[in-house]
Symmetry: C2
Subunit: 247 residues, 2 copies
DNA sequence: AAACCACGTTGACGTGGATCAAACGCGGCC
DNA sequence: GGCCGCGTTTGATCCACGTCAACGTGGTTT
């Protein structure tokens, strides 16, 4: 069984799985709410949606009316322009929100694609705005989530604007590791859900460069890489790569 | 007198210049509010702050409690990390908001620096959250503003991840042009407030590359460039550069 | 007006990553 | 089991941009 393979084991529970008994509530929107607030939140979550690997949760251009909380699975978001250029803007995992990009223009501005079989909670945005007028802590937490998304994007801009290939990949691996850890998985060992090309698109590199950087990590004893299976061997070494270097 | 030179002429008006009679209200937070809602907004804007060229509005690490609406002037925001790397994450002009990055962690995560003498409205964030619980349209508009910031960042990621130097610069110029236009200035002629190095940092290029790209635009008749003064001569040509090309 | 200084331009050269190309590994499917 | 096809690895070559260096320019100081 793969370290954090959430793909297998179809859960049979058709039971009411609401925010109040969701084990992601400390990572997701409910954070900081009390019991009765949580109950209100339960009512807001309109429905669930299951997606198979490769399915689109939404497309760029599609009308926006809900945001989505990932219950399980793994997604990428990407933007593409006429001439065929394509940029992966992020990879999202359980507990994270999708669709915030659509609020501003009332339509989605990127594509969200499941990279493995996944399930999301559908949160009609007007309900969220309504409820966050009632529940201060929900309002505040939602603002924090949006703000953090902006900060995350700034981090990616820093990466794309100033880092060299291996620094980018090291940063990427450490970020994944940290997020897996927060979800109770191994910090050191995991399976990538995305291809080299998708990693490359996210990091502003070509797939060959990503592959070579992985090989280099392997040579240098920083990580054991076998296709999509990653084992981080030297976290401090990767951190060094990420921050240091230059000059 | 430069086309849109807001630098000179210190206005002596100490008059009450509130949102309700601010000529930026269609670009800024008040958008879509009715008269009585606007009055409430007036009360929320706690104070003004004037900054001279080079002054910091806030520093990374500083405690967050307010966001800022630019009344006049021009800013940059940048993040920098230990090893000296530095990424300009945006340039902001009148009517735009600064400080959204600070909500998530209760402290600012980037530096905001005035690139010319500027004035901002100080908006205590708790007041904004309070008022947006009362005024639905304010709440919704604020969410839109944050969302658009995310979308803008995705655009920059696309630029940094996939474009070549001249495409980046063309995109940058057209974006500035469009924003100046929205503020009633000439779409074709303006003065840059930032140095080549700052442009380069924003676009993920070195200052020499920026300079060369400007020279190339000059040669190709796309724009007349004289130090900081820019005159766009061939907007369609720049658009072509921006989107097309590749392959 | 001379001297200074920050910023910008231009040239020569080096290099990291892109591109092109070939082979390999692995899972899916008859 | 053997074939097929996608994803990955690896090598050889190329080129856009970075680096280093010299010089130009416009604005400010004295």
């Amino acid at each position: 069984m793969p370290p954090n393979g959430s793909s297998a084991k179809l859960s049979l529970e058709v039971v009411k799985t609401a925010c109040s008994n969701c084990n992601l509530r400390e990572l997701c929107l409910p954070l900081g709410l009390n019991d009765q607030e949580l109950e209100k939140l339960d009512e807001m979550v309109a429905s669930r949606r299951r997606l198979k690997r490769g399915d689109h949760l939404y497309h760029a251009g599609q009308a926006f009316d809900s945001i989505y909380a990932i219950r399980s699975g793994f997604f990428k978001t990407d933007v593409l322009i006429e001439d065929g250029r394509d940029q992966v803007t992020g990879f999202q995992m359980a507990g994270e929100l999708l669709g915030l990009d659509g609020i501003g223009s009332e339509m989605h501005t990127c594509n969200a694609v499941a990279l493995e079989n996944s399930e999301v909670c559908v949160i009609p945005f007007s309900h969220l705005e309504g409820l966050s007028r009632e529940i201060h802590s929900l309002q505040h937490h939602f603002h924090k989530v949006m703000s953090r998304e902006i900060v995350r994007d700034h981090g990616v801009m820093l990466l794309l604007g100033t880092m060299r290939a291996e620094e980018r990949l090291a940063t990427f691996l450490l970020n994944l590791s940290q997020r897996f850890t927060a979800r109770g998985f191994s910090p050191a060992e995991f399976n990538l859900r995305m291809t080299r090309e998708e990693i490359g698109s996210y990091l502003g590199l070509k797939l060959e460069t990503v592959s070579r950087a992985f090989s280099r990590f392997q040579e240098d004893g920083l990580a054991a890489v076998q296709q999509k299976h990653i084992r981080i061997l030297d976290t401090p070494g990767l951190k060094m790569l990420m921050t240091h270097q230059r000059g």
